[in-house]
């Protein structure tokens, strides 16, 4: 690192740009070559194919991380280009010329370079792809990493009518699946703890007292040593590339400025290319969004109406109470203005906290390595961290339970026409 931090702005030398790009490509999954960038600046056709595939590989990774689905990527170049275009469209990239690039041929490498640089900034790119070798004793503290609820396109499902009991059977199966997941998870905790416990003292750093599962496997299977070392080696090289890039990034952006100066002008004669929505991106569909907004609006309006009624009722009750009181005593005996102000403030805080709850900002997001330390050896911040995670999870659990219950209650009201109004049938509820 000393080598890198020694580099100060200005003494990068003449070959700074290729160096910076080389560093960037080490930190990126696609590993583009610096030469491609140079060619792209001059809009040379040789760079086109590599840039498309680079854009595709980056966007596909981002997409997969986001949705958690394991669909196969489109293998035809045309499909990949569709995907790239739509993805960029979804995220608001607005260069007309880009979307008109043909799906075959070799035009537009400079346009692609611009798109790449925009992505780099927009998605905070090399940082996003930095990740460490996955350990078994890692845990995702993140609401979106477990059980990704798949958005399965309906055309994948079987057609034909089914009996409702089949649905019930499927739901029961799901319930069992949950249980067995739970059991496996508990066992996993146990085994992890054992491994941590048994390998205490084999520390690598002062802060880590025991081996991870992966490290323990190093001993058990001598074959895995090589593999793990390779993985770590490549991670290190990626990190080194990233650090170097970070130190020289400025050169790149300055260079991009010059690229923008010479950017190609939109040729009005190019064939118009429609952006075709690839199947995988159905979730990012405007039509769906509109429907969703309609639903939310309806809910919000219903809520607003309910609130209006409640407020009217309570205000009226309050007023009569106050009036009745002030006629006798000239002032509110129980409630001073100070108390009223205090109450207002307290409620304000409460509602603000409520709003914060649904912003996921408070979530300790990301991949964490699990470390074991016995109660006596814990520092206070460490205790705090785990307690906090558990607290947040409990809160979330309570919130979701409530949501479910309120949905069930809603159903109950809806179904009251059944339970009360069926002619010739007496409906006995299970809890009655």
């Amino acid at each position: 690192m000393g080598r890198l931090s020694g580099c100060r702005r200005g003494d990068w030398g003449p070959r700074a740009l290729p160096k910076a790009i080389a560093a960037l490509s080490r930190a990126l999954p696609g590993k583009p070559s610096p030469e491609t960038f140079r060619r792209a600046k001059f809009d040379l056709p040789e760079a086109v194919a590599e840039l498309w595939s680079l854009l595709f590989s980056l966007l596909w990774l981002i997409h997969q991380k986001g949705v958690g689905s394991r669909r196969e990527p489109p293998d035809a170049l045309e499909g990949q280009i569709h995907f790239v275009k739509w993805m960029l469209r979804c995220h608001g990239y607005g260069r007309h010329h880009f979307y008109h690039l043909p799906e075959v041929g070799s035009q537009g490498s400079c346009e692609l370079l611009l798109a790449f640089s925009w992505l780099l900034e927009y998605f905070n790119l090399p940082e996003r792809f930095l990740c460490c070798v996955h350990q078994v004793d890692d845990v995702w503290i993140c609401s979106c990493k477990d059980l990704p609820s798949y958005r399965v396109p309906l055309d994948l499902g079987p057609k034909g009518r089914v009996d409702i009991r089949y649905i019930q059977w499927l739901l029961g199966k799901l319930r069992f699946q949950w249980r067995s997941l739970y059991a496996s998870q508990q066992e996993q905790c146990n085994l992890l703890n054992k491994i941590h416990l048994y390998t205490r003292g084999c520390y690598l750093e002062e802060s880590i007292d025991h081996l991870s599962v992966l490290e323990t496997e190093l001993f058990r299977f001598s074959g895995s040593t090589k593999h793990l070392l390779q993985q770590l080696e490549s991670e290190n090289s990626c990190l080194e590339g990233f650090l170097e890039w970070k130190h020289m990034e400025l050169v790149y952006w300055q260079w991009m400025d010059t690229v923008l100066d010479t950017r190609p002008v939109d040729n009005p004669n190019t064939v118009k290319q429609d952006i075709i929505l690839p199947e995988i991106l159905e979730y990012c569909n405007p039509q769906y969004l509109t429907e969703e907004m309609d639903k939310i609006e309806k809910n919000l309006e219903a809520l607003s109406q309910r609130l209006q009624e409640a407020v009217n009722r309570h205000r009226a009750a309050w007023n009569t109470k106050v009036c009745g009181c002030s006629q006798r005593l000239q002032r509110l005996p129980e409630l001073s203005t100070i108390t009223m102000k205090e109450i207002q403030e307290a409620v304000g805080y409460e509602l603000a906290a409520l709003e914060q709850d649904w912003g996921v900002k408070s979530w300790p997001h990301g991949l964490h390595r699990l470390l074991f330390r016995q109660a006596g050896e814990l520092s206070s911040s460490e205790i705090h961290q785990m307690t906090r995670v558990i607290q947040i999870l409990r809160k979330e659990e309570a919130r979701l339970k409530k949501t479910l219950r309120s949905l069930q209650k809603e159903c109950h009201q809806e179904l009251a026409i059944l339970t009360q109004g069926l002619e010739g049938v007496i409906w006995v509820l299970p809890n009655s």
């Binding site: 981002i62 986001g66 608001g92 607005g94 925009w118 078994v136 845990v139 990493k145 990704p148 399965v152 055309d155 499902g157 089914v162 009996d163 649905i167 019930q168 739901l171 029961g172 799901l174 069992f176 699946q177 249980r179 067995s180 997941l181 739970y182 059991a183 905790c189 085994l191 054992k194 390998t199 690598l204 599962v213 323990t216 001598s222 070392l229 770590l232 990190l239 929505l277 405007p286 769906y288 969004l289 209006q308 409640a310 109450i343 409620v347 509602l351 709003e355 649904w358 330390r373 785990m386 999870l393 339970k401 069930q408 109950h412 179904l415 059944l418 010739g424 007496i426 409906w427 006995v428």
Partner: protein, 566 residues
């Protein structure tokens, strides 16, 4: 005093009731047949996570109009009996089956992943054999030498021993097949017993650390004795394997919480007396020099020795990472530290250059682009949806007990507080409605803006109609934070870890459940509204819908046909 009609009802309800019971029996039969539905831990989710209660309880209570058979539901028979077919419309069937199957797939994949990592952990906790672990590279050879020079056996003895060990190993390999069968048998019957295992490890450690007292005058007996004790080994190993398996399969049975250097809570010396327990001075010295907390019978594992089975439990503390790994790993962590440092101290010049680039790029954007990108709108929309739910809940809480407690019984403070809360909620809802309006306008590009005329609708709306999807949560784009190894979560007991993971699982489960509930509501409620009930099939359908929607499929109502008495 029971009128005839109600008697009639009674018998009818019984019929309904027993119909259910037979359905129940049928399904439990089918459940027993399907191994994938066997629940490994019937203890269930009630513990740490506070998950749903066990489903297989029957409760019979006298209902209002007869016998109410209310049972917690196991999944009904997959192939509907022809008695009362309650078919769903095609579109509804299609959507529900697809959604539930998707949820199942998600669970199964998660489970598969878990199983894999469980298997990895189990292997580590079973007796280790085969190639002995790689010790620190250069050091062991000299240490081994010194250990040998201190002990009595001559190189010739050692050679013989090694040959013997090799032969035994071969035998062990041959017997493996048998032992695995045994292991299964043991797993069904036996409980984990650690003493054997400890003794086993001792036997493994012994050749190197032979008893000096015994070996000084008579070498041959010592050797033969060693050999004898080793001959027994394979059989023992096999039983150990079986037991170790059991140990791994019964996580709740043995959770030793004390340090590994302390003696085992189970009687550890149970098996030892029959074997000569060596406590040679040399070993004590050696162990004291290397291990952080040595036990006399624990010896350092070194390469070049005959491979012996041992347990991680016994030798884990003495494992030493190879130097090459240590080097790379420490480089790795220092690199991560630097990355972290860079993250927290961004370069202002770079940020400025980036901002400038972005600004210039935006200047070149010539599509009549909406002021908000779809992705952003998506994020906002799901946030608003969540907000709406939370506000509704808060309203319910605020109004709770509104009926019973009249305004008079509330204190002034309480009443004022409620009023202020309601008004606050009202303001929040108004704000959200405004925000929604903004979003609507924001993402729909202004149609009348210049240049948009020649741009087809497809640019905004996609060219094909697509099925709608429901988002539970905004897609997590990996989070802004880094996922480096510097993120650590420290736990101090298994219980704590288990609580945390159980909660995590329950949260995701609830999310799935809520999602499915919403889907079912969308599909089932229109069915109920549209049709008027007539025949028993329809009634069966309603009954099932009611159970799924209101009782999470755990309880059923009883329907009694109230036929006019003739």
């Amino acid at each position: 005093m029971i009128p005839l009609a109600s008697l009639r009802r009674f018998s009818l309800s019984l019929r309904f009731g027993w119909g259910d019971a037979s359905e129940q029996e049928l399904s439990s039969g089918s459940r027993a047949a399907g191994p994938e539905q066997q629940d490994p831990a019937e203890a269930g989710l009630g513990g740490g996570g506070g998950a749903p209660n066990g489903p297989r309880q029957f409760s019979r209570r006298a209902g209002a109009a007869g016998v109410c058979l209310c049972y917690k539901l196991p999944p009904p028979d997959p192939c509907p009996s022809p008695r009362t077919p309650a078919m769903l419309p095609a579109a509804c069937s299609h959507r529900l089956v697809t959604e539930i199957r998707a949820a199942l797939t998600a669970c199964q994949e998660k489970e598969k992943e878990l199983e894999q990592s469980l298997a990895r952990c189990r292997v580590l906790l079973q007796p280790w054999e085969g190639p002995s672990p790689p010790g620190p590279e250069p050091a062991p050879s000299t240490e081994t030498k010194s250990a040998f020079s201190e002990c009595e056996p001559t190189p010739k003895d050692l050679k013989e021993l090694e040959l013997l060990t090799q032969a035994l190993e071969k035998a062990l390999r041959v017997r493996k097949g048998i032992s695995q069968v045994q292991a299964k048998e043991n797993a069904s019957g036996g409980r984990a017993t650690t003493p054997l295992v400890t003794a086993q490890a001792d036997a493994g450690a012994r050749p190197r650390t032979s008893n000096p007292k015994a070996s000084v005058p008579t070498k041959p007996p010592a050797a033969s004795q060693r050999a004898k004790s080793r001959v027994k080994k394979p059989a023992r190993t096999s039983s150990n394997r079986g037991r170790a398996l059991t140990l791994a399969n019964q996580p709740h049975d043995s959770v030793p919480m004390e340090g590994p250097a302390q003696p085992c809570p189970l009687p550890p010396q149970g098996q030892v007396p029959e074997l000569p327990t060596p406590t040679p001075v040399s070993v004590l010295k050696e162990a004291g020099a290397t291990g952080p907390n040595p036990r006399p019978e624990q010896a350092k594992i070194q390469p070049g020795l005959a491979p012996e089975a041992f347990l991680l439990k016994d030798k884990g503390t003495q494992l030493q990472l190879p130097l090459s790994y240590k080097k790379i790993a420490s480089r790795n962590s220092s690199l991560w530290a630097q990355v972290q440092h860079l993250q927290s101290n961004p370069d202002p010049d770079v940020a400025a250059a980036k901002a400038r680039f972005l600004e210039r790029m935006k200047g070149t954007f010539d599509l009549p682009s909406p002021s908000l990108s779809l992705a952003k709108v998506q994020e906002e929309v799901s946030r608003l949806d969540q907000a709406c739910h939370i506000l509704t809940q808060h309203l319910e809480e605020t109004l709770e007990g509104d009926g019973e407690l009249s305004a008079a019984s509330l204190s002034w403070e309480q009443e004022y507080r409620r009023l202020v809360t309601l008004e606050g909620l009202q303001a929040a809802v108004k704000r959200h409605l405004l925000k929604l309006q903004e979003l609507r306008e924001g993402y729909r590009p202004s149609r009348d803006s210049a240049g948009s005329k020649d741009i087809p609708e497809e640019y905004y709306l996609g060219s094909r109609t697509v099925e709608n999807f429901t988002w539970d949560s905004p897609p997590c784009l990996g989070g802004k934070g880094l996922s480096g190894p510097t993120n650590r979560l420290v736990y101090s007991s298994v219980q704590e870890l288990q609580t945390m993971t159980a909660l995590k699982l329950h949260v995701t489960m609830l999310k799935q459940q809520i999602h499915l509930q919403k889907v079912m509501m969308e599909e089932f409620l229109p069915l109920v509204r549209s049709e008027t009930p007539a025949d028993p099939a329809q009634l069966a359908l309603y009954r099932a819908i009611h159970s799924q929607l209101c009782e999470a499929g755990e309880c059923f109502s009883v329907l009694v046909r109230d036929e006019p008495s003739v």
